[in-house]
Symmetry: C2
Subunit: 167 residues, 2 copies
Protein backbone atom coordinates (compact mmCIF):
# COMPACT_ATOMS: atom_id res chain seq x y z
CA UNK A 1 0.00 0.00 0.00
CA UNK A 2 1.28 3.37 -1.00
CA UNK A 3 1.14 6.17 1.52
CA UNK A 4 1.62 9.83 0.73
CA UNK A 5 3.11 10.91 3.99
CA UNK A 6 2.97 14.65 4.08
CA UNK A 7 1.11 17.56 2.59
CA UNK A 8 4.20 18.92 0.79
CA UNK A 9 7.17 21.16 1.18
CA UNK A 10 7.75 23.85 -1.40
CA UNK A 11 11.43 24.13 -2.19
CA UNK A 12 11.24 26.63 -4.99
CA UNK A 13 13.90 29.26 -5.58
CA UNK A 14 14.69 31.48 -2.64
CA UNK A 15 13.00 32.97 -0.68
CA UNK A 16 11.90 29.48 0.24
CA UNK A 17 8.34 29.02 1.38
CA UNK A 18 8.19 26.02 3.59
CA UNK A 19 4.96 24.52 4.72
CA UNK A 20 5.98 22.21 7.50
CA UNK A 21 3.37 20.29 9.37
CA UNK A 22 4.70 19.13 12.70
CA UNK A 23 2.95 15.90 13.51
CA UNK A 24 6.00 14.25 15.05
CA UNK A 25 6.61 13.83 18.72
CA UNK A 26 9.81 15.07 20.27
CA UNK A 27 11.14 11.53 20.49
CA UNK A 28 13.91 11.98 17.95
CA UNK A 29 14.90 15.36 19.38
CA UNK A 30 15.24 13.99 22.90
CA UNK A 31 17.04 10.84 21.85
CA UNK A 32 19.49 12.80 19.70
CA UNK A 33 20.28 15.40 22.35
CA UNK A 34 20.69 12.69 24.97
CA UNK A 35 22.91 10.59 22.75
CA UNK A 36 25.21 13.52 21.96
CA UNK A 37 25.44 14.36 25.67
CA UNK A 38 26.37 10.75 26.44
CA UNK A 39 29.11 10.89 23.84
CA UNK A 40 30.57 13.84 25.68
CA UNK A 41 29.48 16.65 23.39
CA UNK A 42 28.58 19.99 24.93
CA UNK A 43 25.14 21.46 24.58
CA UNK A 44 25.55 24.61 22.45
CA UNK A 45 22.67 26.78 21.35
CA UNK A 46 23.21 26.47 17.59
CA UNK A 47 23.19 22.70 17.45
CA UNK A 48 20.27 22.48 19.83
CA UNK A 49 18.23 24.87 17.70
CA UNK A 50 18.92 22.86 14.55
CA UNK A 51 18.05 19.57 16.21
CA UNK A 52 14.85 20.94 17.71
CA UNK A 53 13.72 22.32 14.36
CA UNK A 54 14.68 19.26 12.34
CA UNK A 55 12.94 16.88 14.72
CA UNK A 56 9.59 18.54 14.04
CA UNK A 57 9.80 18.15 10.27
CA UNK A 58 8.16 15.43 8.26
CA UNK A 59 10.34 15.90 5.25
CA UNK A 60 13.75 17.13 4.28
CA UNK A 61 15.06 20.70 4.63
CA UNK A 62 18.08 22.48 3.15
CA UNK A 63 20.66 24.29 5.26
CA UNK A 64 19.35 27.59 3.92
CA UNK A 65 15.76 26.71 4.81
CA UNK A 66 16.83 25.84 8.33
CA UNK A 67 18.71 29.15 8.53
CA UNK A 68 15.64 31.09 7.38
CA UNK A 69 13.21 29.24 9.62
CA UNK A 70 15.39 29.80 12.68
CA UNK A 71 15.81 33.47 11.83
CA UNK A 72 12.03 33.79 11.50
CA UNK A 73 11.72 32.26 14.94
CA UNK A 74 14.17 34.86 16.31
CA UNK A 75 16.76 32.19 16.93
CA UNK A 76 19.47 33.30 14.53
CA UNK A 77 22.30 30.82 14.05
CA UNK A 78 25.35 31.16 11.80
CA UNK A 79 24.98 29.25 8.55
CA UNK A 80 28.37 27.64 9.20
CA UNK A 81 27.10 26.18 12.44
CA UNK A 82 24.10 24.78 10.61
CA UNK A 83 26.34 23.07 8.07
CA UNK A 84 28.63 21.80 10.81
CA UNK A 85 25.73 20.43 12.80
CA UNK A 86 24.19 18.73 9.77
CA UNK A 87 27.52 17.21 8.83
CA UNK A 88 28.01 15.89 12.36
CA UNK A 89 24.48 14.52 12.66
CA UNK A 90 24.84 12.82 9.29
CA UNK A 91 28.20 11.33 10.21
CA UNK A 92 26.88 10.04 13.54
CA UNK A 93 23.77 8.53 11.96
CA UNK A 94 21.04 10.81 13.29
CA UNK A 95 20.27 12.47 10.00
CA UNK A 96 20.10 11.42 6.39
CA UNK A 97 21.43 13.60 3.59
CA UNK A 98 19.09 13.61 0.61
CA UNK A 99 19.89 14.65 -2.90
CA UNK A 100 16.92 15.38 -5.11
CA UNK A 101 19.00 17.39 -7.57
CA UNK A 102 19.46 21.12 -8.22
CA UNK A 103 22.80 21.16 -6.46
CA UNK A 104 21.52 21.50 -2.89
CA UNK A 105 21.66 18.94 -0.13
CA UNK A 106 18.60 18.30 1.97
CA UNK A 107 18.53 16.71 5.39
CA UNK A 108 15.98 14.84 7.45
CA UNK A 109 15.96 12.97 10.77
CA UNK A 110 16.32 9.21 10.81
CA UNK A 111 13.60 8.01 13.15
CA UNK A 112 14.27 5.14 15.49
CA UNK A 113 11.00 3.40 14.63
CA UNK A 114 12.52 2.52 11.27
CA UNK A 115 9.88 4.55 9.48
CA UNK A 116 11.37 5.10 6.11
CA UNK A 117 10.24 7.06 3.10
CA UNK A 118 11.27 8.24 -0.34
CA UNK A 119 10.73 11.40 -2.34
CA UNK A 120 8.51 12.66 -5.09
CA UNK A 121 9.82 15.82 -6.77
CA UNK A 122 7.82 18.10 -9.02
CA UNK A 123 10.19 19.29 -11.73
CA UNK A 124 7.83 22.15 -12.46
CA UNK A 125 7.17 23.85 -9.12
CA UNK A 126 9.92 22.27 -7.04
CA UNK A 127 7.58 20.72 -4.51
CA UNK A 128 8.96 17.72 -2.62
CA UNK A 129 6.70 15.13 -1.02
CA UNK A 130 7.41 11.93 0.81
CA UNK A 131 5.88 8.54 0.11
CA UNK A 132 6.33 5.04 1.41
CA UNK A 133 5.58 1.67 -0.16
CA UNK A 134 6.19 -1.75 1.32
CA UNK A 135 6.46 -3.64 -1.92
CA UNK A 136 9.11 -1.20 -3.15
CA UNK A 137 11.06 -1.69 0.06
CA UNK A 138 10.92 -5.44 -0.37
CA UNK A 139 12.15 -5.20 -3.97
CA UNK A 140 14.99 -2.95 -2.81
CA UNK A 141 16.02 -5.27 0.00
CA UNK A 142 16.07 -8.18 -2.38
CA UNK A 143 18.26 -6.39 -4.91
CA UNK A 144 20.53 -5.17 -2.14
CA UNK A 145 21.26 -8.71 -1.09
CA UNK A 146 22.37 -9.58 -4.60
CA UNK A 147 24.79 -6.77 -5.26
CA UNK A 148 27.82 -8.00 -3.39
CA UNK A 149 27.86 -4.64 -1.62
CA UNK A 150 27.22 -4.16 2.05
CA UNK A 151 24.36 -1.75 1.45
CA UNK A 152 23.96 0.88 4.16
CA UNK A 153 20.96 2.64 2.70
CA UNK A 154 19.10 3.60 -0.41
CA UNK A 155 17.36 6.56 -1.96
CA UNK A 156 14.55 6.59 -4.47
CA UNK A 157 13.46 9.79 -6.21
CA UNK A 158 10.47 9.94 -8.52
CA UNK A 159 10.58 12.98 -10.80
CA UNK A 160 7.63 14.42 -12.65
CA UNK A 161 4.75 16.84 -12.57
CA UNK A 162 2.65 17.07 -9.42
CA UNK A 163 -1.15 17.03 -9.33
CA UNK A 164 -1.34 20.81 -9.61
CA UNK A 165 1.28 21.21 -12.33
CA UNK A 166 -0.09 18.48 -14.60
CA UNK A 167 -3.03 20.71 -15.47
Amino acid sequence: MLTILIPATIIESRPAIVIAVPTRSTQWIDATLESLRTKGHRDGSARRAVIELLGLQDCCLTAQEIFDMLRDANETVGIASIYRTLEQLTREGFVQRIDVGAGVSRFEPIHADGEHHHHLVCEDCGKVEAFADDQLERALRKVEGQTGYSVAGHDVVLRGACRDCVK
Copy 2:
Protein backbone atom coordinates in the same frame (compact mmCIF):
# COMPACT_ATOMS: atom_id res chain seq x y z
CA MET B 1 17.20 -11.13 -12.16
CA LEU B 2 19.80 -8.65 -11.05
CA THR B 3 22.46 -7.63 -13.49
CA ILE B 4 25.63 -5.82 -12.58
CA LEU B 5 26.12 -3.95 -15.78
CA ILE B 6 29.63 -2.64 -15.77
CA PRO B 7 32.98 -3.26 -14.20
CA ALA B 8 33.03 0.08 -12.31
CA THR B 9 33.96 3.69 -12.63
CA ILE B 10 36.18 5.19 -9.97
CA ILE B 11 34.98 8.69 -9.14
CA GLU B 12 37.32 9.43 -6.28
CA SER B 13 38.69 12.88 -5.56
CA ARG B 14 40.56 14.51 -8.40
CA PRO B 15 42.65 13.57 -10.27
CA ALA B 16 39.89 11.22 -11.31
CA ILE B 17 40.89 7.78 -12.46
CA VAL B 18 38.25 6.51 -14.77
CA ILE B 19 38.10 2.98 -15.98
CA ALA B 20 35.70 3.11 -18.85
CA VAL B 21 34.95 -0.03 -20.77
CA PRO B 22 33.42 0.79 -24.13
CA THR B 23 31.12 -2.05 -24.99
CA ARG B 24 28.45 0.15 -26.56
CA SER B 25 27.94 0.59 -30.23
CA THR B 26 27.93 4.04 -31.75
CA GLN B 27 24.18 3.92 -32.12
CA TRP B 28 23.43 6.63 -29.57
CA ILE B 29 26.22 8.84 -30.89
CA ASP B 30 24.95 8.67 -34.44
CA ALA B 31 21.32 9.14 -33.50
CA THR B 32 22.14 12.11 -31.28
CA LEU B 33 24.33 13.87 -33.83
CA GLU B 34 21.75 13.25 -36.53
CA SER B 35 18.89 14.49 -34.38
CA LEU B 36 20.69 17.71 -33.48
CA ARG B 37 21.49 18.30 -37.16
CA THR B 38 17.84 17.81 -38.05
CA LYS B 39 16.83 20.34 -35.44
CA GLY B 40 19.04 22.84 -37.19
CA HIS B 41 21.99 22.86 -34.80
CA ARG B 42 25.47 23.33 -36.27
CA ASP B 43 28.13 20.72 -35.83
CA GLY B 44 30.77 22.25 -33.56
CA SER B 45 33.88 20.40 -32.38
CA ALA B 46 33.27 20.72 -28.66
CA ARG B 47 29.79 19.28 -28.65
CA ARG B 48 30.78 16.51 -31.05
CA ALA B 49 33.70 15.51 -28.84
CA VAL B 50 31.48 15.34 -25.76
CA ILE B 51 28.81 13.31 -27.54
CA GLU B 52 31.36 10.90 -29.00
CA LEU B 53 32.93 10.33 -25.61
CA LEU B 54 29.69 10.03 -23.69
CA GLY B 55 28.24 7.55 -26.17
CA LEU B 56 31.01 5.07 -25.42
CA GLN B 57 30.43 5.06 -21.67
CA ASP B 58 28.43 2.50 -19.79
CA CYS B 59 27.96 4.63 -16.75
CA CYS B 60 27.77 8.24 -15.72
CA LEU B 61 30.59 10.80 -15.92
CA THR B 62 31.05 14.24 -14.38
CA ALA B 63 31.84 17.36 -16.42
CA GLN B 64 35.34 17.34 -14.96
CA GLU B 65 35.90 13.70 -15.89
CA ILE B 66 34.82 14.44 -19.46
CA PHE B 67 37.18 17.42 -19.51
CA ASP B 68 40.10 15.30 -18.30
CA MET B 69 39.39 12.40 -20.62
CA LEU B 70 39.18 14.68 -23.64
CA ARG B 71 42.40 16.43 -22.63
CA ASP B 72 44.10 13.06 -22.30
CA ALA B 73 42.91 12.26 -25.82
CA ASN B 74 44.45 15.53 -27.07
CA GLU B 75 41.02 16.91 -27.79
CA THR B 76 40.92 19.80 -25.35
CA VAL B 77 37.54 21.46 -24.95
CA GLY B 78 36.63 24.36 -22.69
CA ILE B 79 34.90 23.26 -19.51
CA ALA B 80 32.14 25.80 -20.21
CA SER B 81 31.37 24.12 -23.52
CA ILE B 82 31.17 20.80 -21.74
CA TYR B 83 28.65 22.17 -19.25
CA ARG B 84 26.70 23.86 -22.04
CA THR B 85 26.60 20.67 -24.08
CA LEU B 86 25.51 18.57 -21.12
CA GLU B 87 22.81 21.07 -20.24
CA GLN B 88 21.52 21.07 -23.80
CA LEU B 89 21.61 17.30 -24.16
CA THR B 90 19.77 16.94 -20.86
CA ARG B 91 17.15 19.51 -21.82
CA GLU B 92 16.58 17.84 -25.18
CA GLY B 93 16.29 14.38 -23.69
CA PHE B 94 19.49 12.72 -24.93
CA VAL B 95 21.21 12.58 -21.58
CA GLN B 96 20.17 11.98 -18.02
CA ARG B 97 21.57 14.00 -15.14
CA ILE B 98 22.37 11.77 -12.17
CA ASP B 99 22.93 12.82 -8.62
CA VAL B 100 24.65 10.31 -6.40
CA GLY B 101 25.65 12.94 -3.87
CA ALA B 102 28.94 14.67 -3.11
CA GLY B 103 27.78 17.86 -4.79
CA VAL B 104 28.64 16.91 -8.37
CA SER B 105 26.32 16.16 -11.22
CA ARG B 106 26.92 13.11 -13.35
CA PHE B 107 25.62 12.52 -16.84
CA GLU B 108 24.91 9.47 -18.97
CA PRO B 109 23.31 8.79 -22.35
CA ILE B 110 19.70 7.71 -22.53
CA HIS B 111 19.70 4.78 -24.92
CA ALA B 112 16.85 4.35 -27.36
CA ASP B 113 16.47 0.64 -26.59
CA GLY B 114 14.96 1.67 -23.25
CA GLU B 115 17.77 -0.02 -21.39
CA HIS B 116 17.58 1.46 -17.98
CA HIS B 117 19.76 1.12 -14.93
CA HIS B 118 20.37 2.45 -11.45
CA HIS B 119 23.46 3.12 -9.36
CA LEU B 120 25.43 1.52 -6.62
CA VAL B 121 27.79 3.91 -4.83
CA CYS B 122 30.64 2.91 -2.55
CA GLU B 123 30.75 5.49 0.23
CA ASP B 124 34.28 4.43 1.01
CA CYS B 125 36.18 4.57 -2.29
CA GLY B 126 33.67 6.56 -4.36
CA LYS B 127 33.21 3.84 -6.98
CA VAL B 128 29.96 3.97 -8.93
CA GLU B 129 28.48 0.92 -10.64
CA ALA B 130 25.30 0.35 -12.55
CA PHE B 131 22.78 -2.40 -11.96
CA ALA B 132 19.40 -3.34 -13.37
CA ASP B 133 16.57 -5.37 -11.91
CA ASP B 134 13.21 -6.12 -13.46
CA GLN B 135 11.32 -6.70 -10.25
CA LEU B 136 12.48 -3.35 -8.92
CA GLU B 137 11.33 -1.64 -12.12
CA ARG B 138 7.93 -3.25 -11.77
CA ALA B 139 7.62 -2.12 -8.16
CA LEU B 140 8.58 1.40 -9.21
CA ARG B 141 6.09 1.52 -12.05
CA LYS B 142 3.34 0.36 -9.77
CA VAL B 143 4.10 3.01 -7.15
CA GLU B 144 4.39 5.65 -9.85
CA GLY B 145 0.87 4.94 -10.97
CA GLN B 146 -0.45 5.54 -7.47
CA THR B 147 1.19 8.85 -6.69
CA GLY B 148 -1.10 11.20 -8.56
CA TYR B 149 1.98 12.62 -10.22
CA SER B 150 2.75 12.33 -13.88
CA VAL B 151 6.07 10.62 -13.27
CA ALA B 152 8.70 11.36 -15.92
CA GLY B 153 11.49 9.26 -14.46
CA HIS B 154 13.04 7.83 -11.36
CA ASP B 155 16.41 7.35 -9.76
CA VAL B 156 17.51 4.71 -7.32
CA VAL B 157 20.82 4.90 -5.50
CA LEU B 158 22.09 2.14 -3.23
CA ARG B 159 24.79 3.37 -0.86
CA GLY B 160 27.26 1.18 0.98
CA ALA B 161 30.62 -0.50 0.92
CA CYS B 162 31.73 -2.25 -2.27
CA ARG B 163 33.19 -5.74 -2.43
CA ASP B 164 36.73 -4.43 -2.04
CA CYS B 165 36.00 -1.95 0.73
CA VAL B 166 33.98 -4.36 2.89
CA LYS B 167 37.17 -6.22 3.77
